[in-house]
Structures are given as C-alpha cells and as structure tokens.
C-alpha cells in the first residue's frame, strides 16, 4: 500500500463547483488527478444512494461541492446537501467505514484556486486514511 492512489468522486454542481473546476483548468492550476468529477445540476441533487454506492463500488473518498452559503442557484440546495452529507458521515462512523471519507465543500464559480486547493487537501487526507475498507471485503468476495 505504499503507493496508494485513492479514487475520489466529486459531485459538483453545475453553477458553482463545476464552473470553478473549469476555471481551475483555464488558469492551469494543478491538482491531483485522483479526483473525478460528476456534474449535477445542484449539490442538492446528490442522493444519499449516490454517495453510498460510490463507496460500495470502491471509491476511497467522496465529496459534494456546491455553491457558497446563500449563493445556491436553487436557493438552498447546498444546505440540503450539507445536511445529507452530515447524516451520511454519522452513518459511516457507525458502520466502521469512517465519516471522514465523505465531505461537503462550498465554493463560488470564480474560485478556481479554491477548487484546486480543496481537491488537493481532500486527496491528501484520503491518502492518509488509506484504502476504503469495503474494497478488501469486495476483493475477498471476488476471491471466494
């Protein structure tokens, strides 16, 4: 596990985080390639099932990126998303996977720097946490 490269899924809302990710591109701000973005119209669209499935399928970390507080294009989708993420964190703690694998982050469309910085920080955090324990269970299952 020395060269552990985590796989991280970022659900990004169209109006802010996804635009910020493109902005990071325009500005050529590097961040780890471990982060893979899935575009959603609003962070509030991210279902608990999407996050749990991502972890079940073997993602090492998942984060939901929405607009800044009060800036949600759909009024309060980001607040709903944050509540859902908090709930999932608790659940993950309870079942022993660890809530720290899931995060909610906020940024505005113009914050390319924030996007790149967040992607870097979360990747480093997950790298320290090590691989998602579900994966070894899955592997054992496949082996059996």
């Amino acid at each position: 596990m020395e060269n552990f490269e985590p796989v991280i899924v970022a659900f990004c809302c169209h109006y802010c985080a996804y635009t910020a990710a493109d902005m990071a591109g325009s500005k050529r701000l590097c961040y780890p390639p471990n982060v893979k973005i899935i575009k959603v119209p609003c962070s509030g669209k991210v279902d608990a099932i999407h996050i749990m499935k991502a972890l079940e399928m073997g993602a090492d970390g998942v984060y939901v990126a929405g607009c800044l507080d009060g800036d949600c294009h759909f009024k309060n989708g980001n607040i709903g998303a944050a509540k859902r993420v908090a709930y999932i964190k608790k659940l993950l703690d309870e079942i022993g996977i660890g809530g720290e694998r899931v995060e909610m982050v906020l940024m505005s469309a113009g914050m390319g720097e924030r996007f790149a910085q967040t992607a870097t920080e979360i990747t480093e955090k997950i790298r320290k946490l090590g691989p998602n324990p579900v994966k070894s269970v899955n592997e054992a299952k496949t082996a059996a």
Binding site: C16, P41, C42, K45, I49, D71
Partner: protein, 1012 residues
C-alpha cells in the same frame, strides 16, 4: 437618433469586416431577425483573433473560444457572407443606402472545393493563406456556406495553370474566374473593419528588418500557435533552436514621435505582452527567461491588475521600466543586444537576448480610410472613426455605426460590447424583417432509436495542443473503441470546427450510431454545439455525453501526462456507461413575456431603459435612491470637454417623459423567481415599504459602483484634501478659488491597486489629467504635481497626457512600497515623496491635495442582488459575466445582462456603449416569441408516488403539489430542474431528466470497475 417611420425602406444591414466584432454584430442582428450581409476583404472571416494563440486573462486557446461563433455565424440563416469583398461605391442615406460591392476572384469553386489541400501541396506559391509567418490555414478558420473549407489561388504567381487545374480532383479550380460586382441595398451599416498592426520595418534601431529573431508580437503568437508554421514549437526563426532568453519591447509604433508611428496608446499591448510571457513560462516552465521593457504597465481592464500581479509574483516575469533605444545583432554570439537607459537615470546598459518581440501597436489601414471616404464619414486626427462623446458607436453620418478597433484601439471584450451596441443601433434604424425563419426546417426528422441495439460512437478531440500535447488522443480513441457497445471510435482535430462537426454527422449516419460521446472541452461551453450536431445527423440531442478531458484533465494535469492519460480513459469510460442509458427527451417550450426590468437609474440604466423603450417594449426602471442620475450627476465635464450636466439633464427628461418607461424610485428588490421570458420580481417601495411584484422577460443590471472614499492622506480630515470628483465640482462651482493657487498635488491609485482593492480603477488617470488641464486653463501659473505609479491614459487619452506634460504638469512616479507622505501644515499640506531621478526625498507644500480615488464596487447592492438573482461576483464584488472575452454583457444566469460600472470601472462613454449593448443583447432574446426551458425537468412516476409530501416541502420553488388523482405533480413550465425533489423522494418516484439515478450510478460504475 432617427425617427423609426422614416427609415423602413430596407431591412438589411451591411456589416463590413468579419473579425470578432463584425461577427458579433452580424450574429446579434441575425438573432433579432434582421437580414445581414457580412463582407470581409480577406479569404475567410475571423480577423486578427484567428491568428492569436491564446487570449488573456484566461490564457484560453483563441480558436477554441472563437470557433463556435465562427461556425454559428456561418450557419445563421439571416447572414449572407461574402469573403474577398470590398465596397466600391456607396450612396444614399440612413434607411436607404445603395452600395456596390466587388468580390475578387478566388479561382476556386466554393461548391466543389473540399479543402483537401492538394493544390497547396503541389503549388504552395500560388495558394493564398493568412500573411506573416503562417503557412497553414488554421483549420477552424475554414468556413461554411459562403466560404466553406475553401482555398484561394493567386493566379499571378502561377506559371502552369493547366497543371494547377489538373491537380484538383474535385475540379474546383476555375482559372477563368473573374471579379463579381453586386449592388446591395441596406438600411444601416455597421463598420467593423478593425485595425492593422504597425509595421516596424522603418524603425531601423530595433533591427526588425535586418534580424529574423526580432519578431512582432503577432508573429510570436503564430510561433506559439498549434496551427502556426511551427505547429506550436517555440523556435528561433534564424536557426530553429529554442530560445532561452526572450525580451519584449512595448510601445513599438505607439506613444511615439517616430515617423509613421502613432502618438496614441494602442491599449492592448501591455496585456498582450504579459500573456505571451505567461504562456511561454507555462509551456516551458523555468527554462526560458522572459523580460518586458515598458514605459507604463497599462493593465486597466477588469481583473487585469490581478493578471499583472500573477505575472510578476507567480511566473517571475521580469519587468524593466525603460524604453530601449536600439537592438543590435552580435554576429559572434548570434544573440541580440538590447541597449537601454535604466529608469533611475544611470548610464546605458546592454543586455543579450536570443529573441526580441516587438509589441507593435495598431493603426487604421489606408484601405479603411478610403472606405470611410466612400461612405462619407468623418475620421479623427488619428484616422479612427469619429464618434460622439455620448454616442460612442454613432459615426458622423446617421445610419452608419462603428465598433471595435476602428473606433479606438481596444481589446476583445470591449470590441464585443461595441459590436453589440452598433448592431443594436443599426437594428433600431430598420424595421423588423417579415417572419422569423423556422430554424427547425434545417434539421432532419429524429430517428426512432428505441428499438435499436446500442451503437455508441466516441470522438476524441485533440483541441490543437490543448489535449493533444498532454495525452495521446489517438491512443485514447483506440482505447474507447474496446469498450462495450462502442461501434466506432476515432480521434478528431479541433472537434468544434465546422468541418469536424460535419464529419461527426457523416459518421453517425454512416455507422448508424445511436449514442455519442465527445471527449473534449467542457459541456458548459460546447454541449449545445454537439447537441446540434446530433440533431443534424437525425438523432435526439440528448443522446450525447461530453467527457471533459480538457478543462478537467489535460489543463490541470499537464505536469503528469501519464496520470492525465489514465484519468482521460476513466472519464471516457464514465461517459460511455452513462450515455448508454440516455434516452430521447423533448424540450419544454413556452411563450415569452417581453417586458424588461432595468435595475439602477444612473446613466447606464437610463440609457438601457430608453433604448429598450425605443424597441416598443414596456420597461420598469428601478432605482434604490429617491432620484435618477447616479454618480454621473456629480460630473461636469469629460476629458474630451463634453458637457456632462447638460447631457444628464436631457437624459433624465427623456427617461421620465417616456410613456413606455415606468420609474420606480426608492424601490428595493426583495424576491425573484422564474426563467428568462417569465421572471417575477418583488419590490418593497419606501417609505411605506409596500410590496409590488412585476413580471418581465429579461433583466438588465446597471447598479453602478461607488466613488471610493478611503481614509488615506487626511481625506475627510483636512479641508484642502479632496477627491478628483470634489475638484471637478470646485472647478465648475468655485472657479475663483483656483485663481489664487500656486501648488496643487495629485496622488494616483489612492485606494486602488492596493491589497484592499487590488484592481485598477481605470478612470482616475484620465480624471487627474482632465482636472489638471482645467486648472491650468483657469490659472496657467499653478504648479501641478501628479504622483503616479503607472499613467494609464489608454487610447486617445494619451493625447491629453502629452498635452498636460507640454503645459508643464510635473509627473513623478512612486512605487507601491514607498508611497508619498502627507502632513497638514495649517491651511496647506506638506507632501513628501521620493524623486526617482534625483533618488532623494522631495517636500512640496500644496494648496490642494487631490486624491485619485477611483471607484469601488457597490458591495451592498451586488451582494444583495447577487443573492436574490443568483449571480456570481468577482472577488472584488463586481458582477461576473458569462464569458470575460466573448460574452461581456451576458451574465451566467440566462436572461440577465450587466452594463456600466456594476461590471467594472469605466468611463461615461464606455458605460453608454455597454448600455446600448445590453439593450441589444436583451433585444436578441426578446426577439423570439417562445422560450425553451430545455429538458432537465423532474418527472413523477405516479405508480411509485405515495403522496408523502416530502417533495412538496423540499422544492425551493414550491412547484410540486398533490393533484386530484392523489399523486405529486410537477409543472414543467415552472420546474427549475435542480433535482432536489428527486434526491429527497424516499420512494424514488421522481427522476430528473438528463440526470437520472441510473445514469449517475452508471458513471460511478464506469469509473470504479477497475477498482473492484
């Protein structure tokens, strides 16, 4: 302004010049259902911008930015495009111009030419392309309809015509081709002929003619460009080796007294040079040293100062304040020696470089001056179009409008603003054309794919070097070909170019593809283009998925190409697994409400309101304060001497008397819902604070900025410390006070270009010069010191800067870290500053200290309105437009437009141009009678719905309700498409179209299949 009824003879607008400005003007006119004839003297449209490699400040690829517009201009049914065409004769008046156009022979049959390049390969000397270093036409420039991928032949250079004709298998070469003459009638004319680059060959001292390694900035751009002669390899023209040390010399042909050079500032070269240095650094990291020799660094545009700071701090670009007097070629070392005097007045220095780039300015070509003569419009002393002080795009002749570089030197965003403004003014002069052409006609019927097995096609774009330089696009396409249900996978060059789009359509038909994945740039910018391609190929437009392998892969992982390749494979896989589950969707279309809301009753808001009212729509003009006027009400004169007070009085009168404008003062916006074409906005109106709601189709934000009042240099504490606005008022109201003065000191950049407000306020250099000149007019004996960091008198403002120096105004530069010190000395002020030439401190007693405090964003307004309307802001609280280069007026939220100083600081004239442009952009949207809300709408599966009310409570807009049949119903006309209800629904009875759960899970599966 001309009365409408006198000008209805002709519905056509002639647009002269096919650069970005001309294309924008033509497209705006076409969008608002006017017929356009767009002519360009070149072989293909695109103008100067197509020759650039990148644009500042995003450093995006130029062609990628522009090509969607190019192909759209070609597709537009209202636009007739005539290349190689010039005006021979012109007569007539506004509403009834008659023009004779001459199209030069191309010797190529446009219908037959496939741009295969055979003629060029065999006879390169007689096949014409763009000039300069470019031997190869950029693929995106080749053009649809009128000029499709067509070459052009220079018959005079051809020795063997028969052999040339033979070489073309398509039989497209026609040696007997002759020039064609055509009469065109037009109701109005938009001039966007652009400018030409100053040719530095006469400036012997810079050695441009003698040394191949001295190039112009445009030539350097071609060298960097993926579609340029070296295919993007940075090499010296002399020996083909990579240079290690490059110098840029600013103001070549601008701000100059040399023969043939211009005295004005060309406005864009500072940013241009910074961009070239940054792009060079980005591509080659630290291996190339870059230095800019400059006089004043003029980064006065929106967020441009931040770009300058990045160049200095992040990229280590070396900036040397000096105007070098000569460049010599050292035959021993093969290098170029630049001789310059340092800024501190010390003795001459010599430094060697491998390459020298001359930042050449712009001038109006003789052709264009001749054209102006034919049209009978006046030019200014610099041969640019003469336009009004308060009518920035109107030429001296009614019905003829000028925009872009031809009006004054300017960058792309400002050109776009003026183009939209000129197009709008022109469209006001002509009546609306008969019936809008149904664009649906050109699409073939949609193929029913429901019974077909999956046949996925993958097209990987190399985007020039943007993708192809980091990863192997061909390998990626090969890999995609191995994925399940992929029947066709290939690499395409410049996926968004007209010809590639056509190719994709052909492949879809040929291979009977029923799902498509594009690996390329961001769906945010290009999804609609590719959806359009699918429609043309007979597929529903929602059967495409874009994998963002550029903005979110090769651009951000260029430092680790292998990881970028892996990630690109994953992104393609995700798109393939997800597109497999896509299904045809229908757009939701609704009628359009045509009323307009203009927020802000300053000069910009009033202009926007009047212009919209002229188009016959109802306008609500909302002002927070008790009266109209804004900041401009406190300005008396412009730099050019125009009377602002008289203008404002007339403007306010016209606004208040217009029947179609309803003015709401003391009104505060409190809520807002809806979509473009059907917005609802609520106000509270003081003092009773009663509530009122209006319905409108579009919104123009013109909320302005505030005069900055920083607590610096005793401002507000000492009676004789004032802002430039205060001085402007004193000059008008108390001219007697000026008569007794002996010393006045002005300090520039107070409260601007500092950590609290990092950007340049743009207007303060010219207002200081304006006030200095007016003081001297009243009292020629006053000694005036202007303490500055960089004098940013861009464009023709430079003339006034020069005049101020001639009249004895003393300009002394200071550095940001050693600002002047000010102490009160009774009625006077003691100002101490460092003199860079004497290199010692100097103290001067001043009667008045004028601080150039500039503008600061109206944070309270932009904060509140940004929240209510969901509009993003820049870090310094100005509204952030949709695209800083090509869409400076459109906001990211559809149906919203920004104008005036709410966008960024600008002069009165620039505000008026933006107001006209915003009205024009709004008019384009309102020209349609219907509104397309797309397909991303929540759908309820009534079998699964248990009427639990969770969606009713979760929806931020209160749209779902439990209907008579006992299940949740969502009105597609009102659904905003956020998908929150879908995420909350415990029974999973709601799905958001385009983002259905199984598609999202398929993306996860596509990504993670390797992991498991």
């Amino acid at each position: 302004m001309q009365a409408q009824d006198t000008l209805k003879q002709n519905n056509t607008v002639l647009v002269i010049g096919g650069g970005v400005g001309g294309i924008r003007a033509a497209m705006d006119l076409a969008e608002s259902n006017r017929d356009v004839v767009l002519i360009d003297k070149s072989y293909s449209i695109g103008g100067l911008m197509t020759q650039l490699d990148r644009t500042f400040p995003t450093n995006n690829c130029d062609l990628c930015t522009l090509s969607p517009d190019l192909s759209e201009a070609g597709r537009q049914l209202h636009i007739e495009l005539l290349a190689m065409t010039q005006v021979a004769e012109a007569e007539g008046e506004a509403g009834d111009f008659k023009l004779k156009l001459i199209t030069a022979p191309r010797y190529i049959d446009l219908e037959k030419c496939t741009a295969c390049g055979d003629c060029f390969n065999k006879f390169p000397e007689c096949v014409r392309f763009t000039p300069g270093l470019d031997h190869r036409a950029p693929t995106c420039m080749r053009y649809p309809q009128a000029i499709p991928h067509a070459f052009s032949i220079d018959m005079e250079k051809c020795n063997d015509v028969d052999a040339l004709v033979q070489v073309c298998k398509a039989g497209a070469i026609i040696p007997e081709d002759t020039q064609k003459v055509r009469e065109v009638e037009a109701g109005a004319i938009v001039l966007a002929p652009g400018a030409e680059v100053f040719a530095p060959d006469k400036l012997d001292s810079l050695g441009y003619a003698a040394n191949p390694d001295v190039v112009t900035s445009l030539e350097y751009e071609r060298i960097l460009s993926a579609s340029g002669p070296t295919q993007g390899e940075l090499v010296r023209p002399s020996d083909g080796k990579q240079p290690k040390k490059i110098a840029w010399i600013q103001c070549v042909g601008s701000r100059s007294i040399h023969e043939g050079a211009a005295s004005y500032c060309s406005s864009v070269c500072c940013m241009f040079a910074l961009k070239e240095t940054i792009v060079t650094k980005e591509r080659f990291q630290d291996s190339i040293e870059t230095t800019i020799f400059y006089m004043d660094m003029r980064t006065f545009g929106k967020d441009y100062e931040l770009y300058l700071n990045r160049a200095k701090n992040d990229y280590g670009i070396r900036l040397v304040r000096s105007r070098p007097h000569s460049v010599f070629h050292d035959s021993e070392t093969g290098r170029l020696s630049i001789i310059y005097s340092p800024d501190d007045g010390g003795s001459n220095l010599t430094e060697d470089f491998d390459m020298v780039v001359l930042s050449t300015g712009f001038k109006i070509s003789e052709d264009v001056q001749e054209l102006a003569g034919k049209l009978g419009i006046e030019l200014n002393e610099h041969h640019f179009a003469k336009t009004g002080g308060f009518s920035p795009v109107s030429t001296s002749k009614p019905g003829i409008y000028a925009c872009g570089m031809f009006e004054s030197p300017k960058d792309i965003p400002e050109t776009m603003v003026q183009a939209s403004a000129a197009a709008f003014c022109a469209s006001k002069d002509i009546s609306i054309l008969s019936e809008p052409i149904e664009s649906i006609d050109e699409f073939p019927p949609e193929r029913d794919v429901s019974q077909e097995p999956l046949r996925i096609g993958v097209f990987v774009c190399d985007c020039g070097l943007n993708i192809g330089d980091v990863i192997n696009a061909k390998d990626l396409a090969d890999y995609a070909g191995t994925l399940a249900d992929v029947k066709r996978s290939e690499m395409v060059g410049y996926g968004c170019s007209r010809e590639t789009m056509k190719h994709i359509q052909d492949v879809i038909r040929e291979k009977e593809l029923n799902r498509v994945v594009i690996g390329g740039c961001s769906p945010r910018t290009h999804e609609t283009k590719f959806q359009d391609t699918l429609r043309r190929a007979g597929l529903n437009k929602y059967l495409v998925e874009i994998a963002n392998i550029r903005d979110q892969d090769t651009w951000v992982h260029f430092d680790r190409p292998e990881d970028a390749s892996d990630k690109a494979r994953e992104l393609i896989r995700m798109a393939v697994t997800s597109v497999a589950l896509s299904h045809p969707l229908t757009d939701n279309v609704f009628p359009m409400k045509k009323d307009v809301l203009v927020v802000g009753g300053g000069v910009t808001g009033m202009n926007a309101a009047l212009n919209m009212a002229d188009m016959g729509v109802k306008v609500y003009l909302v002002e927070r304060s008790g009266e109209l006027g804004g900041v401009a009400k406190n300005i008396h004169k412009t730099l050019e001497g125009d009377d602002v007070q008289a203008y404002m009085k007339d403007l306010i009168e016209r606004t208040t008397q217009n029947d179609r404008i309803e003015i709401l003062t003391n009104a505060f916006i409190v809520d807002h819902t809806g979509m473009p074409g059907m917005f609802k906005t609520g106000f509270q109106i003081a003092p009773q604070m009663f509530y009122r709601q209006i319905e409108h189709g579009v919104t123009i934000l013109a909320t302005g900025a505030l005069p900055n009042q920083p607590k610096e240099y005793l401002l507000g504490e000492h009676n004789n410390v004032m802002t430039q606005l205060d001085m402007d008022a004193m000059l008008e109201d108390q001219p007697d006070k000026i008569k007794d003065l002996s010393n006045v000191i002005m300090i520039q950049c107070v409260g601007s270009r500092c950590p609290e407000n990092p950007n340049c306020s743009r207007i303060c250099c010219q207002s200081a010069i304006k006030n200095a000149l007016r003081i001297l007019e009243l009292n020629p004996t006053v000694r005036i010191f202007v303490l500055y960091r960089d004098m940013r008198t861009y464009g023709f403002q430079e003339d006034y800067y020069k005049k101020a120096r001639e009249k004895g105004v003393i300009f002394v530069r200071y550095e940001a870290d050693t600002p002047p010190e000010v102490q009160a000395a009774d009625e006077q002020l003691q100002v101490t500053f460092n003199d860079p030439i004497l290199n010692r401190k100097v103290s001067v007693y001043a009667d008045y200290l004028c601080l150039s405090t500039g503008l600061i964003a109206d944070e309270e307004s932009t904060e509140d309105l940004g929240r209510i309307f969901r509009i993003p802001k820049t870090s310094d609280n100005y509204f952030l437009e949709d695209h800083i280069k090509l869409r400076p007026i459109d906001l990211p939220v559809a149906g919203f437009f920004v104008a005036g100083t709410a966008h960024a600081p600008k002069t009165l004239r620039e505000c008026i141009a933006q107001a006209q442009a915003a009205a024009g952009r709004a008019h384009c949207l309102l020209a349609k009678d219907t509104l397309n809300l797309g397909a991303a709408i929540a759908r309820v599966d009534k079998e699964r719905c248990t009427a639990c009310l969770i969606c009713v409570r979760a929806c931020p807009f209160n749209i779902p309700f439990i209907n008579a049949d006992g299940y949740s119903e969502i009105d597609p006309a009102q659904c905003h498409g956020c998908g929150i209800c879908a995420a909350e629904c415990p029974a999973k009875a709601i799905q958001l179209m385009q983002y259905e759960d199984d598609q999202i899970l398929a993306k996860l599966a596509g990504l993670l299949e390797r992991v498991n």
